[in-house]
Amino acid sequence: MVFTLALRELRSLFLSPLAWTILAVTQFILAYLFLTQLNEYILLQPQIKMLANPPGATQLIVSPLYGSAAFIMMMIVPLLTMRLISEERNNKSLSLLLSAPLSMSEIVIGKFLGVTGFLVIMTFLISLMPLSLLLAGPLDLGHFSIMALGLLLLLFSFAAVGLYMSSLTTQPIVAAVSTFGVLLLLWIIDWAGNKAGDENTSAVLSSLSILRHFEAMSRGIFNSSDFIYYLLFITTFIVLSIRRLDSERLAR
């Protein structure tokens, strides 16, 4: 049942010009960054070869590409998630779901999976660029797949926040702005810790930072703690959204 809802969500996204525009724009910008990075690598290649333990193309081209993708998506995902619940509330179409024999969890998870599907398509399109390097030479596929997994987890977390923000309001724009605010805060939250110089604060804040957990993965290191962080993050915001919709039904 959740897949029926997810497919509907995905289809609605692709029936609006928004999804296509987002795909085109991000792909264009990332392709530009990718080519710049590639160019630089080719220029530097003679010097890199002189090093004792030379970094490969994966580290020098793909890692920065995924880093930029993460940053760009922080601004893009709020636009994708803003309409999930708020627009249905605005159009009064939410009551279609509420009067159907569906539980609140099914509705919320269905919507989340719908956006997730879009993000998977997007990550796949982004990954095609580094994969094209396989035509010219070898890639560290282990490192590459951990980076791809990291990016997916990061984007799913963005989407979970966006879903929750969308459940709070009737206006999509408000949802988008607040999602972006929360994501940006989580992105830079460890700066304060670094500045304070206090080790404990620094450790707490950087373990909260959504970016820190991605950094390790983009270096090709898979820590189960990072994985668990993302899972907890996503679950928390999905549960919050379910509770939010449930409480709306109950007496205010």
């Binding site: 029926t4 029936l15 179409s93 009067s99 159907a100 024999p101 109950l250």
Partner: protein, 317 residues
């Protein structure tokens, strides 16, 4: 609770903060019955319907649908309900066929029945011609029909319609009413409206709700049968003076109109037709009209709802 009833609502209340939108409403809906839900704006009609369809949780009271408790087994109970809210819940970027197929799926119809269910719903609501068009491009009337088709797609035992004819042209209104009447033969229908003739045409049973409480609940035929006259309209070619009419025994009050018309108010249990006729013959008044007036639904509606308000203002003062 009556076991055979489709919907059984017991002591339903709903508060928005301190504001009581609905207080202590109880009623039943039997199979094959069209229940008209009447009330002025803001009386609590939509709140009640939202509660019956599980979109709002009641503050107090219980709702049973086909004997299933809506609070405890929400999923099973909701499978028996089709709901058309005031604004039809449409996905405007979809075509009619896609949308109805999706509705059939989320109502958990088995895969092999979906196509036939969509076809049946389209045929019932007169949507055969527009199946492939985008909902966004349809006229308001057709969008309303799509909303209705959505509510009946899983042939639920109970269909709840919130003001289904608002904003339609007269021909569309007639068509939708016919659809509702036809549906009422097989399903139980709850219809909310503030258009009184609509109730007379489509409903078997009337409920009037005012300021959140149920103030009138009766079958429509009872309303018409057991409702004796309490006023008589008469017209004379050569009208007498008012005093003569006032002297007829049983008459409380006389209103006089142009062209020799009068309206005599009297007690419900007295019949004054005989006295008027004999008076007309004696005095040679040339009686041309004599109509006993019983309370119409409109009068009952106005009496009940405005009476409530005036008593409320008294209380406030």
């Amino acid at each position: 609770m009556n076991n055979s009833s489709l919907i059984s609502v017991q002591h339903l209340s709903r508060y928005y903060g301190k504001l009581a939108a609905v207080t202590d409403i109880s009623f039943d809906l039997s199979p094959g019955e069209v229940l008209g839900f009447l009330g002025p704006n803001g009386a609590g009609k939509t709140t009640t319907m939202n509660m019956i369809c599980g979109n709002l949780a009641p503050s107090h009271g219980s709702i049973h649908i086909c004997g299933i408790d809506l609070m405890e087994n929400a999923k099973q109970a909701k499978a028996h309900i089709g709901y058309l809210p005031e604004t039809p819940p449409l996905y405007r970027e979809f075509s009619v066929d896609e949308y109805l197929t999706y509705c059939a799926k989320i109502n958990r119809l088995p895969r092999e029945k979906i196509t036939s269910a969509v076809d049946l719903a389209k045929q019932r609501c007169g949507l055969e011609q527009v199946g492939r068009r985008l909902i966004n491009n349809l006229s308001k009337g057709y969008q309303q029909r799509v909303g209705l088709a959505q509510a009946i797609i899983h042939s639920p035992s109970v269909i709840v319609l919130d003001e289904p004819t608002v904003g339609l042209d007269p021909i569309q209104i007639r068509e939708i009413r016919q659809v509702i009447k036809a549906l009422g033969k097989e399903h139980g229908v709850i219809l909310s409206t503030h258009i009184l003739p609509e109730v007379l045409i489509t409903c078997d049973h009337v409920q009037i709700i005012a300021q959140g409480t149920l103030v009138f609940n009766d079958r429509l035929e009872n309303l018409q049968q057991n409702n004796p006259a309490e006023a008589t309209r008469i017209q004379f070619k050569r009208p007498p003076d008012i005093q003569t009419l006032q002297n007829i025994s049983g008459v409380n009050n006389v209103e006089s109109f142009d062209g020799g018309r009068f309206k005599l108010h009297h007690n419900i249990d007295t019949d004054i037709s005989d006295s008027i006729i004999s008076l007309a013959i004696e005095e040679d008044l040339g009686l041309t009209e004599l109509t006993p007036e019983s309370k119409t639904l409109e009068q009952i509606f106005v009496d009940i709802t405005s009476g409530d308000q005036s008593s409320d203002t008294e209380n406030a003062a």
